[in-house]
Amino acid sequence: MHVNYWDEIKKDNLGRTGLLLITVLAVVALGAPLLAPYNPWEYVAPSLSPPSWGHPLGTNDVGQDIFSELLYGTRTTLLVSVTAAFFSTLISLVLGVVAGLRRGLPERLVLRLVDVMLVIPVFLVALLVAAYFQPGMTTLIVLFSLLLWPPGTRIIWNRVLSLKHQAHFTAARQFGAGTAYLVGRHLVPELYPLLAVNFIQVVRRAVFMEAGLAFLGVFDPAAKSWGLMLHYAREFIFTDAWQWWLLPPGLAVSLTIIAFALVGYSLEAALDPRMRRQTYADH
């Protein structure tokens, strides 16, 4: 079965929307210093100014431009979530492949560890540990990487078990190929779509957790983050400021999660032949 996943996502309306949103977010994150009208750490206007031409979303309680804060917040969110998703997926890949290929003790160890990790309330642990360690971006990345790998590991382990009995692995083995060759040339490429799905899911969870932790105040107070904006804005919900201070970062978080979710769904649909046949039938 050969499927061009990229084409499948592009053909799908939801997937296209998701990709578009992610592209916009990425452009914003990369171009924040150019796009932002002001330095978000400077006091540029009287505090709590309502939106104006000069300040599209007004200013916060210390006179910083909220629109600029929002743009810089995109950077933090994407950097933390994408990096954490990358490392977490890497851990899933290594452990999943080891467990799938080396049955016996290594497999049992990995699977039991996954079971244990899955019953731990991840958010709570993240909250406590982050609070203990003076939370910053690096702390969060490490923390998320270490907490979010178990579901992916189990999926990859499962897939490796079925893949390793496929005829083309046996064929390569019978040409004399060693394990390293098999994993590098045949196994990992077969896992690419699965890794992509897993990556996107971890990004989603990481965006949400990052925003949540920051909202609860467990984040470097000087950093620019959507969660942190929500955290500060919460105190002013009795004024009109919530409309331009609380709402935009909330929407931004939701939009980011939705964007990744859309791409994720579309990719999963491409992976699952039954779902794919339905979409073909619709066209």
Binding site: M1, H2, Q166, A167, H168, T170, A171, A172, R173, Q174, F175, G176, A177, Y181, R185, H186, P189, E190
Partner: protein
Amino acid sequence: MLTINELTVTFPSHHGPMKVLDRVNLQIEAGEKLGIVGESGSGKTSLALTLMGLSPGEVEGSITFHGKELLDQSSREWESIRGGSLAMVRQQSGEMLTPVLSLGKQVEEPYLKQYPGRRKEARQRAIELLREVGLGEEYYSRYPYTMSGGEVQRALLAMALITDPQMLILDEPVSSLDALTKEDILQLLSEVTADCTVLIISHDLTTVARLAHQTAVLYSGMVLEKAPTHVLFSEPRHPYSRALVRAYPTLKGVKELQGIRGEIPSLGHRPGGCPFHPRCTQALDICTRERPAINNYTVKPDNIDTTTDTAAVTARDADKEAAKATAATTFTETSAPAGTPADFPVEGVSGSRAPYSFGRRWLACHRGGIIELLRGEKIFRRYPLNGGYLEAVQGVDLHLNEGEVYSLVGESGSGKTTLGRILAGVDAPDEGEVYFQQRPLNRLSPQESRQSRQALQMLFQNSGEALSHRLNVYDLVVEPLQIQGLGDAVSRRQAVEHSLEWVRLPRDEEFLHRYPHHLSGGELQRVALARALVLEPRVLVADEPSASLDASVQAKVIKLLLHLQNEKGFALILITHDLALAARAGDRIGVMHRGVIIEEGPSTQLVQHPGHPYTRRLLQAAPSLETF
């Protein structure tokens, strides 16, 4: 009676001397009938002419006839020998008779030469013989151009017999005749020569099978194998003898005909060492350098249908000693391991088979004849199933010879694939051992293991799955070379192109960059085959290579596979559920049922005389286009 010792015949030519016969040793006892077979150009006729003292070349060695050295005779003495005790019927019979004399005069001629003046006696004897050969008196005054080929052949026989020779040499006695005339003449020959010593020379194996007790295989002027006729044709031991038998069409034979790969060497360019080595699939370095000595094996009368391991052991020993030049030694042979093909009517020499039909087998081969490549001993394999075990393979013994096609037949679930994977070294057996070239496959050093992976290849049941959908044709075919670390970029590219050429796939850039999902079932199968062949394996295990293909593509793939098997000389284990296909392709068939090989034997024998009830059921269920 006639002993030929180290007979060498050389013709001078522009390119230096051409050896037509190279140290031929043969013996014929009184009353024995010896056949000599070989392709055209092997020196058969030169041998006959030399025996008659008619060879234009330079002759060395010795030919003793009744203790008399023939090569020392003067030409006058030769004439009396030729006319008297030695007579010959030659090929291209029509040209042997002059059109200007009546037949009777020509038949009488040798008699008159021997006994000048006894015209009346000669005439009487000629008429007698013409009757005996089935022509009748009236032919005495007929002219050769009024006679058919068969009649001319009869007349020539009469002419040869008129001096009552002690020994008759028949050179292609029936080659140019149609089947029915041939049958008549063969019948006649076996009747009138019943008490005669006969040397039959022919490229036609059936002629020799009908007439000869013993048969020698001549190749490029050298005797490669000599054995009792029925043994030679049913169990040839020399790779050339087997190829010769395989190439011969018979009605009863079920296996597809196969030519002998390569061309017979021209006499001017005889290969050194063993003359067959350029066409041999198991040639070693020594075969190119040293002339193989003749080894002597005893063929026992009671061993014809038994199968034991001794022969394999001798072959193994011979293999080990291949590096040394072996002197003539005597091995005891039981049954030969040779995979064998067609069914010859060797019962033709009925009744008179003993005492000449047993005795010795001569074999001139550095490797002791066809070697055994792969051997499985007491193979067991079980899979866990619902708490218990599924016994997939239960104690199978199997061997595969060099250049042989072994068909493994059985219904699905009989354990064929499991056995095939074990034999190919893909899986390890739970019990038992697989030997590849006498070395246990599962106990090799990593280095040896890697090499064995190169020599042992498997074509998997579903080729589409065995090809990664992420790799294009070039990457797929080059992969085995990359894994084995063979060659550089240029030589790999060449190897890939050769391999694709062998399997008759295009080699252009467009095709090389196609992915498996752009290929048809037949193309996929051929890419998988190219992948297996790129390492030039010695053994290929093909698991249902055509099961998912339609009949026409199946025919193409199977033909291609067999063609390549013949050309490349690898041994093939063909796993199939289709007995018709198995019989067409295989030298031998093994029938597998519930993890056991219940019956095994040469294809023809197994199809015509199935022993096991299950085999008979399979035969009844075999594909047929007959309608009722």
